[in-house]
């Protein structure tokens, strides 16, 4: 009972302040004892606390608390008092320019990433909302159970969906989509894989994508395509696209029968062209048939009135039962779910996903990083404000003596913080504007995000600033509200200690560790980047110009360019060495069953010589025709094919199209593909007429004039195609773009972290030195040297750094060496001493500058000045 009393008293004090509660406590007691007499103790205790809670939240206590508070002033927040808060805040901010500057810079850097995350989140909320009845559109998902494993797929069996179209009358509109349509077109020597969808004219009943020209019905005809405005611009320029024919490598010629108007980017549908299911007879047959088990890439969207949802799902499940026999054969069972279109983004990523989906997990990770940056900035703000305690103690003391309440002091500080955070958010919005283009280029799929600054977004940014401001202001506000007025008036702040609390030290250490981590990340990636560029790939990459052939005759190209004095060698290839190869092929031993997967390169007879490829055995290709075609392979190919243990001639190999070829040479393994790809079995075939690129070795001191000479020749030969030269070294460098992107992301984070932690450090140093001005003056008078004073003042920070280094280096090493490089593929021994030292040096260098700047200022002042001013 004693404890209960104590707790209750505390609670009443907390909720009611000075309110008169004696009679209430008495009532509580009386009720408790009478209840205990009537039933048992447990019931009584339970009732007691029930009464306590009801009293705590009751009007009675609130009313008594209000009566008891001693201030005669108006209790609420009026316009006049807000104005006064604002005035005092503005004066304070103006007076302490350095601090305002540090705070605003720190907070706005911290906020910029958070704004990015916020903007992204809000934009994702608006995804696909522009379709009419967007909230009534659903994607049908399939939950498959096979061998006890449950998988959720975005796709649905076509047998079900076609039956649903006919049998379920409550489906207001529906569309079938298959995204397995990637027509490849050749442009400037590069193969462009376009993103296409198989669908039907129903597409336009469900999604709001108006046509600019052409007709919707044209999709019912085979080989017709409706393309987006952007693709039209890319393929045909300003010329009218309607009626033009797109020549593709894998789908023949497709006729443009319609062009879409520009539609909002905020949709998860990602396509450049649409075609009807009729375009591919074979595909259509497979798609149409009662296919229950193999339904990858088949999607179904439908519009259902909200109240009919359950009914439709029920009917679908029933149709699903008719497919059960087929599923039983494949040993699986399926059930179906509706996924609202507007909830796809940001949503849960499921298997066989259609279009662009940002899953919630990634969003949370992103928010986590943003908070990791924002939190230290807020902490710095609180820290810097408390640092000002010495300067502001008198102000607060006087306020308190005249009768200001805790609450009012708190409000003053909250207003001040909110003001600073509003200024910061304005600056952060400018930063956001500057970095968004870069961000879009870095993130996969971010091109669907516009990051447009709308009034709605600005309002949300404002709210965000308000919340950040209030949360940040709570700590310094509470600190100042607690100061006793007497102590404040007499000798500054009671807590005018020279020490800095453990939590603050710890947070500073964390900040530095974070910065160090990011800095090391940059170092690691930079090292990887330079290693790959200087790596001995096994072929000569110097002075080789790459010309896209554009279907011109290689013989003509050879004869033209070989005659030029600057060009020492010409060869042809289907792919640029050092970049990724596409396509997989299979090879067998004659009569064998097992196959080797290999990558194919179509070259001419000069290729191996021009690139200085080493032979392990045999000789190069020549341009003569043999009964069996001659090929070159690499060592990996040889090793793989030997494993198959065929009988007969080990040099005779059968390719997937039943063509038999003879291996005439084995090349030493070289990295034809970027270093992050393993060396795959490679097969070189003589077929210059199918090559896409001409490789020219140019030896010249004056590259510029040589290039213009080449261009003149080209224009003379092929006036209708544009001369488009690249250099092998440049091409290879570009294929490591992802490393540069990684460096950019980490670099940006590092700069943010560095700025924030340096500001935090600066604030701490200022706090420390200002508290110790008098001490320093006395020490100086007593004869302390400049050096010993510096050491004395800055010693603590070096200790903290030591701890930060001890924490950060091993963790960063583990993360980068074991985890990050595992993702990126490690090209060298991983993290080295050099980049650790370099990142340490850079971070510490800036920190030391900040420390020395402040300590120097204090130490250098004439001690008598300091003493007099105190």
């Amino acid at each position: 009972m004693k404890y209960m009393h104590k707790i209750t008293q505390q609670l009443f004090h907390l909720f009611g302040g000075r309110a008169e509660v004696e009679d209430l406590l008495g009532d509580l007691d009386e009720v408790y004892y009478s209840s205990k007499e009537r039933s048992n103790r447990l019931v009584a205790t339970w009732n007691y606390w029930r009464h306590v809670c009801s009293l705590l939240l009751s009007y009675a206590l609130r009313r008594r608390a209000r009566e008891a508070s001693y201030s005669p002033y108006y209790q609420g927040v009026s316009a006049a008092i807000l104005k006064s808060y604002l005035k005092v805040s503005l004066r304070n901010l103006k007076q302490q320019r350095t601090f305002t500057f540090l705070n605003v810079v720190g907070l706005s850097t911290g906020m910029s990433i958070a704004l990015l995350a916020l903007a992204m989140f809000i934009e994702l909320q608006n995804f696909d909302t522009f379709h009419p009845h967007a909230e009534e559109i659903y994607q049908l998902n399939t939950q498959v159970i096979k061998d006890g494993n449950t998988r959720l797929l975005a796709s649905t069996p076509p047998a079900l969906t076609y039956a649903a179209d006919e049998k379920v009358s409550d489906i207001l509109a529906s569309v079938h989509i298959n995204d397995d349509f990637f027509p490849v077109v050749k442009k400037a020597g590069n193969e462009l894989a376009l993103r296409g969808l198989f669908t039907s004219p129903d597409f336009f009943n469900v999604f709001a994508m108006p046509l600019k020209e052409g007709t919707v019905e044209s999709l019912s005809e085979p080989d017709n395509v409706i393309i987006t405005e952007e693709l039209a611009l890319r393929l045909f320029g300003e010329a009218a696209a309607l009626g033009k024919v797109i020549q593709t490598e894998n789908w023949g010629s497709l006729k443009v029968s319609g062009v879409l108007e520009k539609f909002p980017k905020r949709t998860h549908l990602r396509f450049e062209l649409l075609t009807g299911f009729q375009t591919s007879a074979a595909f259509n047959a497979r798609h149409r048939t009662a296919q229950w088990t193999d339904f990858k890439s088949n999607y179904y969207f439908m519009r259902i009135a909200d109240e009919k949802k359950e009914l439709v799902l029920d009917q679908l499940e029933r149709i699903g039962l008719t497919g059960q026999p087929a599923m039983d054969q494949a040993n699986l069972s399926a059930s179906f779910q509706l996924r609202p279109l507007t909830e796809i983004n940001p949503g849960i990523s499921i298997e066989d996903e259609f279009g662009l989906v940002f899953d919630k997990q990634t969003m949370w990770f992103f928010f986590g990083i943003a908070l990791l940056i924002l939190f230290p900035a807020c902490f710095n703000y609180s820290n810097l404000s408390i640092t000002r305690a010495l300067k502001r103690a008198r102000e607060i003391g006087i306020r308190k003596v005249i009768g200001s309440q805790k609450k009012q002091i708190m409000e003053q500080f909250l207003v001040e913080t909110v003001l600073v955070s509003l200024i910061s958010v304005a600056l952060a919005t400018v930063l956001f504007h500057l970095i968004r283009a870069e961000f879009i280029s870095m993130l996969v799929g971010a091109s669907a995000l516009s990051f447009e600054i709308t009034p709605q977004l600005l309002l949300i940014f404002g709210l965000f600033a308000l919340v950040t401001g209030i949360l940040t202001g709570l700590i310094p506000g509470a600190y100042f509200a607690k100061i006793s007025p007497l102590a404040a008036m007499r000798n500054g702040v009671e807590e005018g200690k020279v020490s800095i609390s453990g939590i603050r030290k710890g947070l500073l250490v964390v900040q530095f560790a974070l910065t160090l981590g990011f800095m090391m990340g940059i170092g690691v990636l930079a090292k990887q980047y330079f290693t790959v560029l200087n790596y001995q790939t096994g072929f000569n990459k110097e002075n080789i110009a790459v010309l896209p052939l554009e279907n011109h005759n290689p013989a003509v190209v050879r004869s033209t360019f070989e005659s030029m004095p600057e060009v020492s060698a010409v060869s042809f290839s289907s792919s640029i060495p050092g970049t990724s190869l596409s396509g997989l092929n299979y090879a067998y031993f004659t009569g064998g069953l097992d196959s080797v997967r290999y990558r194919q390169l179509l070259v001419d007879d000069h290729f191996t010589q021009q690139l200085d490829l080493d032979f392990v055995w045999g000789q190069g290709l020549d341009d003569k025709h043999y009964q069996k075609e001659q090929v070159l392979v690499n060592e990996t190919f040889m090793a793989k094919i030997q494993n198959l243990k065929g009988n007969g001639d080990s040099l005779l190999v059968q390719l997937a199209n039943h063509e038999e070829v003879v291996i005439v040479g084995v090349l030493k393994d070289y990295n034809h593909e970027p270093l992050n790809e393993r060396i795959e079995p490679l097969l070189l075939k003589y077929a210059p007429e199918k090559a896409s690129f001409a490789l020219l070795t140019v030896a010249t001191p004056d590259m510029l004039s040589t290039v213009s000479n080449l261009e003149a020749k080209w224009d003379q030969l092929f006036p209708e195609t544009i001369f488009n030269v690249k250099f092998l070294e440049q091409e290879i460098e570009d294929s490591y773009e992802y490393l540069r992107t990684g460096m950019k992301i980490l670099g940006f984070l590092a700069i943010l972290a560095l700025v924030i932690s340096c500001l935090g450090l600066l604030g701490m140093v200022i706090y420390l030195t200002e508290n110790r001005t008098k001490e320093v003056a006395i020490r100086k008078i007593l004869g302390a040297s400049y050096k010993s004073l510096l050491a004395n003042l800055s010693g603590m920070f070096f200790k903290m750094w030591g701890i930060a280094i001890l924490i950060a280096v091993p963790i960063a090493y583990l993360i980068f060496d074991k985890f990050m490089l595992g993702l990126f593929n490690k090209f060298n021994e991983g993290v080295g001493i050099a980049e650790i030292l370099l990142s340490l040096l850079l971070t510490l260098g800036l920190g030391v500058l900040a420390i020395l700047w402040q300590t120097h200022r204090v130490v250098n002042v004439n001690p008598s000045e300091n003493l007099r001013n105190e």
Binding site: E22, G26, D29, A60
Partner: protein
């Protein structure tokens, strides 16, 4: 007169009138629990008491400390003249309505 009397307010006022000089929080709570068989919390009761006081229906003063409640004083409530008028107005209105009712209300 400020506002109308609520049903619960009327109940509280009548209970206080019944208790006479012994009308304080716990006692009122106990009476209501016994007579009306209603379980209400102290918070609800005291809120109502406070509002009735604000409306001018009640007056209250602290009593003398006694040994029974750990020396804590009780707050006694008494009805004001307005309360008596309001209650009797209420009663006469009810009587009026009862007598004018078109069918027998004293249902058994």
């Amino acid at each position: 007169m400020k506002g109308f009397l609520g049903e619960f307010e009327e109940l509280v006022l009548l209970t206080i009138a019944n208790l006479g000089n012994e009308a304080y929080g716990a006692a009122i709570l106990d009476q209501i629990a016994q007579r009306a068989n209603r379980k209400i919390s102290l918070g609800a009761l005291h809120s109502t008491l406070t509002r009735l006081e604000e409306k001018g229906f009640l007056e209250s003063q602290l009593g003398e400390p006694t040994a029974t409640r750990g020396g804590r004083r009780k707050r006694y409530f008494t009805l004001t003249g307005t309360a008596v008028t309001a209650l009797s107005n209420m009663k006469s209105l009810r009587d009026d309505l009862w007598s004018g009712a078109n069918f027998n209300l004293s249902a058994e």
